[in-house]
Point group: D2
Chain length 321, copies 4
C-alpha cells in the first residue's frame, strides 16, 4: 500500500512470539497482529528492537515479516526493520523485506563500526536508492551508541532520502528543535520537508511529543495495551491534553511491568521484553512467553508480578499472586 505522508498515529513495534524451542510462533504472531488491529492502531513496525530483530536469524526475520504482512492484509501500513551493522548487510535485509511486501523500511545508522556523519548520510542514501520503498531513520543511541545528528536528519528529510524518523533517543529537547526546524506545530506541511513523518519511540512521553507536533508513536508497551495508546492519541488529536496526560500516566504506571526482573540477575532489556511477552501470554494473545537466547527469562514470581500489575491496570480481570 502507498504509505500516507506523513504517516500518523499509533504504530506498535510488534513483538515476535517464540515457541518453547525458540522458533517463531506464527499463529501467536498472527493473533498478536489481530489484537493490535482490533484496538485501532494505525500501522505496525515489524522487526524492530522490541521485535527482538537483533536476536533473530535471517530465516526467523523472514518468517516473522511474512506472517505480519499476511495477517495485516493491507489494512494498515507495515514498516519493516532492516537492522544490521552496515550498508551492504542492510541492503540484503531491505531486498528481502521489499520482496515480502513491507510498505516501508526502518534502518539505523551503522553500528559496531565507527562512522562519520558523511558516511551515515551515504548509508541512508544508498538504501533509499537501492530499494523503492519509503525509508525511516531509526535513532536509537542506546543500541547504536551515537545519536543521529539533527542537522543530518533535516538534510535527508529535505532532499527526500528519508520519509520519516523513529526517534528512540529519549532526547525530547532535540526532537522539539527538529520539529520547530521543520516548521513547528502549524507550518510543518509547508516547511522544508512537508511529508516527513516524526514518530517518537518514547512511550512514556507521548502526550508531550504529540503536543510538540509529532505525528505518532511507536510504543513497545503498545503490544500490551494498544487501546490505551489509541485513546491517548485520539485525546491529543482532539485537543484534550489533560485527558491525554491522564491516559499517559496510566500507561506510565503499567510500564512498571518492565521492572519485574531482578537487576542482579538480568539486564533491563531482557526484563522489559520478558514482561511484554509474559503480559501477552497472560492476556491470552500468545502461547508462550519465551524470549530469544541468550536472554535470561523472567522467573515465575516475576511473571506473577506482571499479572498483578495487569490486574491493577484493569487489563485482566482475575487477580494474580
Amino acid at each position: 500500500m502507498a504509505l500516507p505522508a506523513p504517516l500518523h498515529g499509533v504504530i506498535p513495534p510488534v513483538c515476535t512470539p517464540l515457541d518453547a524451542r525458540g522458533e517463531v510462533d506464527t499463529s501467536s504472531l498472527a493473533r498478536l497482529v489481530t489484537h493490535l488491529l482490533d484496538a485501532g492502531v494505525h500501522g505496525l513496525f515489524a522487526l524492530g528492537s522490541t521485535g527482538e530483530a537483533a536476536y533473530l536469524t535471517d530465516a526467523q526475520r523472514g518468517t516473522a515479516l511474512e506472517v505480519v504482512v499476511k495477517a495485516v492484509n493491507g489494512r494498515v501500513p507495515v514498516l519493516a526493520g532492516v537492522i544490521d551493522t552496515t550498508t551492504a548487510r542492510v541492503l540484503d535485509h531491505a531486498g528481502k523485506a521489499a520482496g515480502l511486501g513491507a510498505d516501508a523500511l526502518v534502518a539505523t545508522a551503522p553500528f559496531y563500526t565507527r562512522t562519520h556523519p558523511r558516511e551515515i548520510a551515504d548509508h541512508f542514501r544508498r538504501i533509499r536508492t537501492a530499494v523503492g520503498l519509503p525509508l525511516f531513520a531509526y535513532d536509537i543511541p542506546m543500541a547504536v551508541h551515537g545519536k543521529l545528528p539533527p542537522a543530518l536528519v533535516r538534510e535527508l528529510a529535505a532532499d527526500g532520502t528519508l520519509a520519516g524518523l523513529k526517534d528512540s533517543s529519549g532526547d525530547d529537547g532535540a526532537l522539539r528543535r527538529l520539529l520547530v526546524g521543520l516548521g513547528g506545530r502549524t507550518a510543518r506541511r509547508t516547511g522544508p520537508a512537508p511529508g516527513f513523518t516524526l514518530l517518537t519511540g518514547s512511550e512514556l512521553t507521548v502526550d508531550a511529543a504529540l503536543l510538540a507536533g509529532a505525528d505518532g508513536v511507536v510504543p513497545g508497551l503498545g503490544n500490551v495495551d494498544p487501546a490505551g495508546y489509541v485513546r491517548l492519541y485520539d485525546a491529543a488529536r482532539a485537543g484534550h491534553w489533560e485527558r491525554a496526560a491522564a491516559e499517559q500516566e496510566r500507561l506510565v504506571t503499567l510500564f512498571s511491568i518492565t521492572d519485574v526482573g531482578p537487576e542482579s540477575e538480568m539486564g533491563r532489556s531482557s526484563s522489559a521484553l520478558g514482561a511484554f511477552k509474559a503480559a501477552l501470554r497472560l492476556l491470552g494473545v500468545i502461547e508462550c512467553g519465551t524470549t530469544a537466547i541468550p536472554q535470561v527469562p523472567l522467573g515465575e514470581e516475576s511473571v506473577r508480578e506482571v499479572g498483578r500489575r495487569l490486574t491493577a491496570a484493569g487489563l485482566i480481570k482475575l487477580p494474580y499472586g
Copy 2:
C-alpha cells in the same frame, strides 16, 4: 523567607555578568535581577551552571550571591548553587550561602570522584543536616557524568532530605516516571512526598514538563526572555496547552542564539553562555558580554547574529547585521 512547598513557576538560573577584567559586575547583576523580577519570575537560582559557578572563585561566588540576595530583597525565593566535588567542600559553600541569606541550596551528586549510590545518599543527607536550609538535588549528567538514580531521589524526597529536584538530565521519560511515582498530576500533594518540588531544567520542553505535572522550570534562556517563560507557565497553569506549546516553539526558535559560535572554535557551552550574555548586553541589561576564562569568547560576527535573532524574535527593535 520561608520557601513555598512546593516551589513553583519560572526560576531562572541567573547569569553572572563580568566586567572586562573578569570580575563580577555587581551593578549589571543587580540590573539583571530587576529585569527578571519585572518579568514576573517566581524565584531565582544563583550560582548554577548558567551562572558560571564552576568558573568563579569562591570570592566571586560570594559577591554574586550577595548581590542577588540584596537586589531581590525578599520578593522571591533565592536558591543558591553549592557546586563542588564532594561533601566537605560543598559544606563550605553551603555555610557561606546560608550566611549570605540564600533561601535554599542546590547541590549536585559528587563529581570528579566515582561515587556509589549509598555515598550519594549520604552526601545529600549530610548537607541537609549540617545546614538549616531546604535542599534541592541538581541532576545534571552532562556535568557530573552520572544520572541520579530515580529510586534514590524518591527515597530522599520521602524522608525529607530533599525539598526538590532540578532535573537537567534531559531524560523526560525518567522525569515522568518519577512524577507518577510521587502521585502524578492529581495526587502529588497526597503522595509519599507531598511538598516535594519538581523543576525541569530542560528549557525546550517546558510545556511537556508542566503537562506531566512538574512545578516549574529553571531556564537558562529565561535570562534573555523571562517574560516568554512566564507567559508559557501562565498558559499551562490555565490549561491553555496549545498556547503554551506555541510560546514554547517561539522560545525554541530563540534558543538558536546558542548555536552562533562556530563548533570548530569553541564548545557548545561557551557558545551558549556567550550568547546569553551577548543578548543581555544587546538588550541593555548588562554592560559587557565577557564570559569567564578559559572560555573562548563569541566573535563579533557571532554577536551580530545574536542581535539578528533577537530582532527576529521581537525582543529588540533595531535590525542588526
Copy 3:
C-alpha cells in the same frame, strides 16, 4: 588442523581486498595470505574488524574465508570471526565457518542489545557447545560498547568454554591483572587455565604485552609489515627486550599512516582501513585500495602520504609525493 594450546605468535587480522565494484578480490586476497605467510606469521585471523567483517554481506564473508583457508592450506591455523549481534545469528556464521574449514572461532559479546554478564556467559557457552571448534572471546569495547568483565573471562577460561582471548580493549592494566590471575609469566601453564591463549590486539604495545606474558598479537598493521611484527615477537621471545622495544617504536611510527585521512571528512576507522589497503596496493600485494561502503575512501593526496611514510619506513624503495 588442531590448534596449539596455547596458540602463540603473530596472527594478523587479514584485510579483505575488494575490487572497484566492492566485491571480494579473491586473487588479491590469496596474494595477501602469501605475503603474510612468507613473512613468518604464526596464524591468521579472517573476518575480524580489520577484515571489514561488519561491512561484508554473508556471501562476501563466505568467499573471503574460503579463499583464506584454501590459500593457507593448513600451514598455520585460521581463526574466523563470527561477528553478529546475538547468539542465534552468531551460530549461523559459526556453522558456515566450521564448514569452510576454520580452525577456531572468534566471537564478541552480544552488541546492539543491552546484555547482562550472565547472558554473555550463556552466549559463549552456547556457541562453544553448538560448534566443535575452539572459541576465542573478542574483547573490543570500541565496537561492542562494553568491556568483557575479567572475572567472566577467567571463569570461561577455567571451565574450558574459551580457548583464548583477543584483547582489543586497550586496557593493558586489566590485561595484566588477568595474566597474573592465570598464573603470571612463569606459572600460566600450571594455573587454572593451562592452555588458555592471550592475544593482544593493541598493536602499539606488543612488547609490553609479551613482557607481561601474553602469547601473541593480532596487529592490523601486521597486514602492511608482517615481518616487523615477527621480528618484534622473536626479539621478545629471545629476551631481547630493548630490541623488541626498538622494533615496536619503528612500528608505532609506521602506524601514523592511519592518520592520513582528514578528520573533518572521515572517521578514524575509515582512515585506518583505507591506509592499510592503500599501503598493500602500493606494496604491490593487492590490486585496489577500495574500502567497503559507506566508508569515505582516502583521497589521492592521503594515498600519496601513505606512500611517503612507507618509503620513510623502508618498506618501499621509490619515493612518493
Copy 4:
C-alpha cells in the same frame, strides 16, 4: 628546589591520613612521608586523586601540603595537585601551593564544564604564566571525562607550557605514540621537548611504560609498598626487564587489596582508597584508616582481608584473619 628536567623515578601520590573526625592527621602524614622517603622514592605528589584532594576542604588541602613540604625538607621534589573545575579556581589553589613551597604543580583539564581543546590549551597556559612553577598536566579521563588530546600535549610540551604529563588515562597505546612523537627511547632528549617528563599513573603496567621510555611512575599502591616500586624502577633502569616484570607481577597481586570492598556496598574508588589506608594502618605507618566523607568505609572483614593479603605479600609478618 629546582625540579630536574626530566623528573624521573617513583613519585607516589601521597595518601592524606585523616583522624576519626575526618581532619588531617598531621603526625601520621609526616610518618607516611618518612616511610616513602626511607624506601628511596624520587619525589612526592601531594593532593592528587589518591590523596583524596577532591574530598578535602581548602583548609585541609593547605594543611596536608604544608606537612608534606615540611617533612620532605627539600630532599626530593614535591609536586602539588591543584584540582578544581576551571582556571580561576585552579589559580587560587596554585597561588597557595606556591606559597606553601611546592616545587611544581599538577593540573587537570577543566571538568564539570564542557571544554573545547582551545580552551584547555588556554587553561594550562594561563596557569603556567600566572605561577612561576613547572606545570604538569594530569590526564585522568576517569575523573575529568575526556582524554587530553595527544596533539595538544605535544604542542604544550614543545612550547614550554608543560614540564610534564602524569598519564592516568590507562591508554598505553596513546602514551606510546606520544613518547615516539617526542623522540622515542633514544632521541627524547634531542626531540621537540627535550626536558619534558612523562610519568605513568598506571601502577599495573610500570615495566611496560619504562620499557617504552617513560621517565617514572606515580603509583597509588606505592604508598603501601614504595620499596617494591623502587626495585621495579631500578631493575628497569638497569635493563633487567624480566626482573622488572617479576616485581610488577608481585605488585599486581598486591593490588588485589583494592578489591576487598563489596561492589554492592561501595564504589571501586572508595574500596581502593580504603584499602591503601587500611594497609598503612596495619603496617603501623598511620593511626587511623578513615577515608573522607561521603565514602563508605571498609568493613572489619574487608580490613582483615587486606591484612591477609599484606601478609601473603610478605609486607607484614603476623598472620591476619
